[in-house]
Every structure is written in structure tokens, then in C-alpha cells.
């Protein structure tokens, strides 16, 4: 258990700046997700914590102590890799026990710890198998047990579930979260899957081309993405250009109210599909182009004159059908302007 602090961390590979000016703090026991598209530097940041990459400049502090001069085999971190990295010539037991045996622990103690760890990840009785005899999900469970058994101060996971099928991914995600809560271990989880990040993390660091765009709780990141990049990356978002004139925002033929915080004449308006509502009559006339049944609700593609396509989410009770014509209005939207972002509710 430990806290972690990045201080002006940079990593360059030749001319490529993989990580730029990383500055954030992870509290003791927190579950953090580094989220971003591929090539955004999230894996490099994680590998610097583990010690596999050396920072070009800056510092990483664990409980206030710099760890960057420590070699990876001395750091109190444990990593779960993206691919299954179990050692193929060792049994499950040996894989999990390897790190403990290096520490010259007593044999009985090693056995107890390994068995406890395997039970924790739901693989009791699998200790004599070889990795090749396990499914992908089971192998990743063993990898998690191998990391946990060392009681690391920080657990690092590099897209551990990305090669599993969707069902298994969700299940392992739930299991991981409950294990993390049970042990209270500080965890840093790298993913490009926003759903994974939103469901797992206490806080998410959204990364883009080497730096952190926003570091906040999933609720805040979803409700108030601080930049257009985050707005576009997290969840589904309708983005429109708008003019800020005479105290109103003009998009297409329509006007939306603004507030004092909005600066500049050219702004972007972002609307979540679930923030669209069917309006009485004074709204934007819309024609339903497509209806997709997503189980609990409909995902609807609307065509709005002068705005183009707009995604909306309506409850099942709305009974919308393709070809329907009605009025819609957003009940909440974000305005991205020169000086930041404003949230406005109608």
C-alpha cells in the first residue's frame, strides 16, 4: 500500500515524445485508470513505474521517496501484462511461487501464500496445471495471483483483459474490483476501453498524445469532460459548431441560452445522447432515421434540419419508430469556448 506521485515526468524515444510533463498523484489504496487511445503514452507511463523504461526527465515518488534509480527487480510493484505472460515451462503453482521462492521464504509459507492467492482469483485446485492447459481468462487470473502474492505496494495492470472476449472481460473486471477493494491495494490500470475505465476506477487519467487531458472521478469525467478530446473520447457525444451572439448561442437555425462564463464568438456545443428529450412543440423538428434497440433503451439517430445527424437515447416508453417526426431539445449541454468549458442546464 502506497501513494504515488509523478513529478514533471517526460519520456522521449528519440524524437518521439511518448510522455510529456506527467504530473499527478495517486492516493494510498486508490484504483486509477490511465485511459487513452493507442500510442497516447499510457503504457509507457506504466512501464516507467515498473522500471522497464527509464524517464528522460522528472521523478516518480512512492510514499515520498524517489524510485527511479531502482531497478525493476527491486521495486515494490507487481505487473500484470497485456499478453499472457505465464512461464510456459512452469506449473501454475511454480508460476505464482517463483517470486516468493526468490525471497527465500520457508516452503510451508510459500505453499500457504500461493494457495491463498489462487483461491482469491478463483483457481483453487488448478495449481498442478501448465499454462497451456488453461483458458485465456484463467491464465490472466494466474497472472493476477502472481502479482498479488508478493503483496506489492502498487499493482500495475497493462490492458490485462483486452485479449479476452466481452463476457469474460466484464466478469474479470468485476472480480478484480472486488479483490482490489478487499485488499485495499493501490492499483494503476491501463486501458483504451472507456467502459472499463468508467466502471473500475476511483479516478481516471485521460491521456492524449503523451499528456494527461483530465484527471478526475469517472462521474466528473463523464458529465463534464474538460476538453473536446475527452468529450469525444468518453462515451458518445454530439458536437456542433455554434456562434456566441447577443447573449445566445446560435447553432444551425436554432438558439440555445448561454451564461456569463462563455467567452469568444466561436464555440463548440457538446450534447450527450441521453440528455436529449422529446419536446412539446417549441423544440428542434427532428425526423427519426434509425432506431436501435439496446435492451433497456432505444438509441435513435435523428435528422435535424440545419444541424445534420444527432444521436439521442430515449426510454422504451417513448415508442419511437423509424420515420416518426417530432420535436426534440437538450436538457443539458456543454459549451467549449476559448477559456474552458461551461455546463448549462435548461
Amino acid at each position: 500500500m502506497a501513494s504515488l506521485q509523478f513529478n514533471k515526468l517526460d519520456k522521449h524515444f528519440g524524437a518521439v515524445k511518448a510522455v510529456k510533463d506527467l504530473n499527478f498523484k495517486v492516493n494510498d489504496g486508490e484504483f486509477i485508470c490511465l485511459l487513452g487511445p493507442s500510442g497516447c503514452g499510457k503504457s509507457t507511463a506504466l512501464r516507467m513505474i515498473a522500471g522497464f523504461e527509464e524517464p528522460t526527465s522528472g521523478d516518480i515518488l512512492m510514499d515520498g521517496q524517489s524510485i527511479i534509480s531502482m531497478p525493476p527487480n527491486k521495486r515494490p510493484t507487481a505487473m500484470v501484462f497485456q499478453k499472457y505472460t505465464l512461464w510456459p515451462h512452469m506449473t501454475v503453482f511454480k508460476n505464482v511461487a517463483f517470486g516468493l521462492q526468490l525471497r527465500k521464504l520457508e516452503r510451508k509459507l510459500v505453499e500457504t501464500k500461493v494457495m491463498t492467492a489462487l483461491e482469491l482469483v478463483g483457481l483453487k485446485g488448478y495449481d498442478k496445471r501448465l499454462p497451456a492447459q488453461l483458458s485465456g481468462g484463467q491464465q490472466q487470473r494466474v497472472a493476477i495471483a502472481r502479482a498479488l502474492v508478493l503483496e506489492p505496494k502498487i499493482m500495475l495492470l497493462d490492458e490485462p483483459f483486452s485479449s479476452l472476449d466481452a463476457h469474460l472481460r466484464v466478469r474479470l473486471r468485476e472480480e478484480l474490483k472486488s479483490i482490489q477493494r478487499q485488499l485495499g491495494i493501490t492499483t494503476i490500470f491501463v486501458t483504451h476501453d472507456q467502459e472499463e475505465a468508467l466502471s473500475l476506477a476511483d479516478r481516471i487519467a485521460v491521456m492524449n498524445s503523451g499528456w494527461v487531458e483530465q484527471y478526475d472521478s469517472p462521474d466528473v469525467i463523464y458529465a463534464r469532460p474538460s476538453s473536446q478530446f475527452v468529450a469525444g473520447f468518453i462515451g458518445s457525444m454530439n458536437l456542433f459548431e455554434a456562434h456566441n451572439e447577443k447573449g445566445m448561442l446560435k447553432l444551425g437555425h436554432f438558439f440555445l441560452k448561454t451564461n456569463d462564463g462563455v467567452n469568444g464568438s466561436e464555440v463548440k456545443i457538446a450534447i450527450r445522447p441521453e440528455d436529449m428529450e422529446i419536446a412539446e412543440s417549441s423544440g428542434w423538428p427532428a425526423k427519426v432515421k434509425q432506431v436501435m434497440n439496446l435492451g433497456p433503451f432505444y438509441s435513435v439517430l435523428l435528422e435535424i434540419e440545419s444541424l445534420g445527424n444527432l444521436k439521442a437515447m430515449f426510454p422504451k416508453t417513448s415508442q419511437v419508430k423509424e420515420g416518426d417526426v417530432f420535436s426534440v431539445l437538450p436538457n443539458r449541454y456543454l459549451v467549449y469556448h476559448d477559456a474552458g468549458v461551461e455546463e448549462i442546464r435548461l
Binding site: F52, P72, N73, A78, M79, F81, Q82, T85, W87, F98
Partner: protein, 272 residues
């Protein structure tokens, strides 16, 4: 059965089968027959007198009694030295990035890509000045040249095939670099390295060009001895018996190879 049935429907297959039989199995049968005959006169189809008489005669010959242990010793020593030189080099080729690594890796092909005799002649001239001709050391050195390709290429490809994250995972749980190599990397490449060792051993055992040019007259290996027996002797049996004896290393290798390795690991060794 299904093989023969398939063959029956394929005239071209039958042709190939017969050709293979005549050119490979045929001479082998002839050699075996000669080895166990005491007298075989034209025009009879089979030996006119069978027996093991020439076996005891062959293995009483002083030159053979000397050449067999020498050949085994040479092959063993060359394989060992080659492993000591080449395996670390192979690891370096696979894991370290250095300038010209591709060029150096390809350069090992050079000894096999061009007629070797030209190379050997120039080496022989140098060896003559160094008084290495007709010595065991000279033969060891010349035969080492032959082994470089297999001993570097196969293990290099094998080391490259070991997923780096396997090594990182071991480092991550606290293993030292040396332990990672010894307990994680090496076990993954054992099949490929065994293949390289066996190929090197057998290849060295059968090597003649270098052994003739550098070794004669002082150092005479089994294959070299066999050549002279075949060329100079009227007794065909000596050649046949030695040739049968020389199959033993190949057969042993095939036997171990089937057990220790699959074709897969050999193919992986060549980066296929």
C-alpha cells in the same frame, strides 16, 4: 494403407516413389549386403558367401582404431567450442540492438554461400605458416568455421522467439538478470539449441573438405579414412562396413531429434 491407396491413384506419385526407392534405398541395401558378405562374385544377385569376417578385420585395422575415437573427440570438442562462442553471440544478436547486427548475422552465411574450397585453400596457406597443418588444433579451427552458421542462426531465431514480456514478468517479481536468463529464457530455447548442437556434432563428424586439406597426413578422421579406403582398396567390404558404422551418429541424432524436438521447433529455429 491409406498412403499406398493414395499412391495407387497417382501415376506421378508412383514414379517418384520408385525413383526415390532406386536412388536412396537401393544403394543403402547394396551397402548393407556388401557389409555382410564374404564373397560376392558377378553375376549372382546376392552375395555368394555371407559372414562377419570382414567386420573383425575392419575393426582390427590400426588406422580405423585410431580414426574412430579421434573423430568422436573432434566432433565433441568442435561442438563444445562452437557452443561457447556462438550461444552468447546468438543471445546478443537476438536481444541487443547494435550497429550492423543484420550485416554480421548475414556474414555467417558467406561461409556456406560460396564454394568452401577456395576459402579453405587460403586458410591452409595461413595455417601452413603457423604450423597448424596436420595438427588436431588446425582441424578443430577449420571445422569451427563450418559450424558457425547453424550454431548462430538457429539459437538467434530461438532467442528472438522468446517473448520479452516473459523476461520482464520475471524481472518484475524480483529475479536478477542472470536468473531470468537461466530460469526463464534458456528453458524456452532448449529444443532449438539441442537441434543446433546435434546438427553441429553430426555435421562435424562427417566433414571431409577441411579435414582433408588441413588434417592430412597427420590427422585422419573417419570419413577421410573411408574415402581413401574406397578409393585405394580392392576390398569393397571395408568401405561398406565403415559406411554403415558412420550411419550410427545420424541414426542416433534422428532418434533423439524425434524425441527431443518437433519439426516445429526446428522450423522456429530457422525463423520459419
Amino acid at each position: 494403407m491409406s498412403f499406398l491407396r493414395k499412391l495407387g491413384k497417382d501415376p506421378f506419385g508412383i514414379f517418384i516413389f520408385i525413383a526415390l526407392f532406386l536412388f536412396i534405398i537401393g544403394p543403402m541395401i547394396s551397402v548393407i549386403l556388401w557389409a555382410f558378405s564374404v564373397q560376392w562374385r558377378y553375376p549372382s544377385l546376392l552375395p555368394t558367401q555371407w559372414g562377419l569376417k570382414f567386420w573383425s578385420q575392419t575393426f582390427k585395422r590400426a588406422d580405423i582404431l585410431q580414426a574412430l575415437p579421434l573423430s568422436l573427440f573432434l566432433s565433441l570438442i568442435v561442438t563444445l567450442i562452437s557452443a561457447v562462442i556462438c550461444l552468447p553471440a546468438a543471445y546478443a544478436f537476438a536481444r541487443l540492438k547494435f550497429r550492423g547486427s543484420q550485416f554480421f548475422l548475414l556474414s555467417f552465411l558467406a561461409t556456406n554461400a560460396f564454394p568452401r574450397f577456395g576459402l579453405y585453400i587460403t586458410i591452409a596457406v595461413i595455417f601452413l605458416k603457423l604450423n597448424l597443418v596436420s595438427t588436431v588444433l588446425g582441424v578443430v579451427l577449420i571445422q569451427l568455421v563450418n559450424t558457425l552458421l547453424f550454431m548462430i542462426w538457429i539459437p538467434t531465431a530461438a532467442f528472438k522467439g522468446v517473448d520479452k514480456s516473459l523476461e520482464e514478468a520475471a524481472l518484475d517479481v524480483g529475479a536478477s538478470r542472470f536468473r531470468v536468463f537461466w530460469q526463464i529464457t534458456l528453458p524456452q530455447v532448449i529444443p532449438a539449441i539441442s537441434a543446433a548442437l546435434m546438427l553441429t556434432f553430426v555435421g562435424t563428424f562427417y566433414e571431409t573438405q577441411g579435414a582433408i586439406l588441413i588434417g592430412l597426413p597427420g590427422v585422419r578422421t573417419m570419413p577421410v579414412l573411408m574415402l581413401s579406403l574406397i578409393n585405394n582398396q580392392l576390398v569393397v567390404q571395408y568401405g561398406a562396413i565403415l559406411s554403415l558404422t558412420l550411419w550410427i551418429p545420424s541414426l542416433l541424432m534422428l532418434f533423439f531429434a524425434r524425441r527431443a524436438l518437433s519439426g516445429k521447433s526446428l522450423a522456429a529455429g530457422f525463423g520459419v
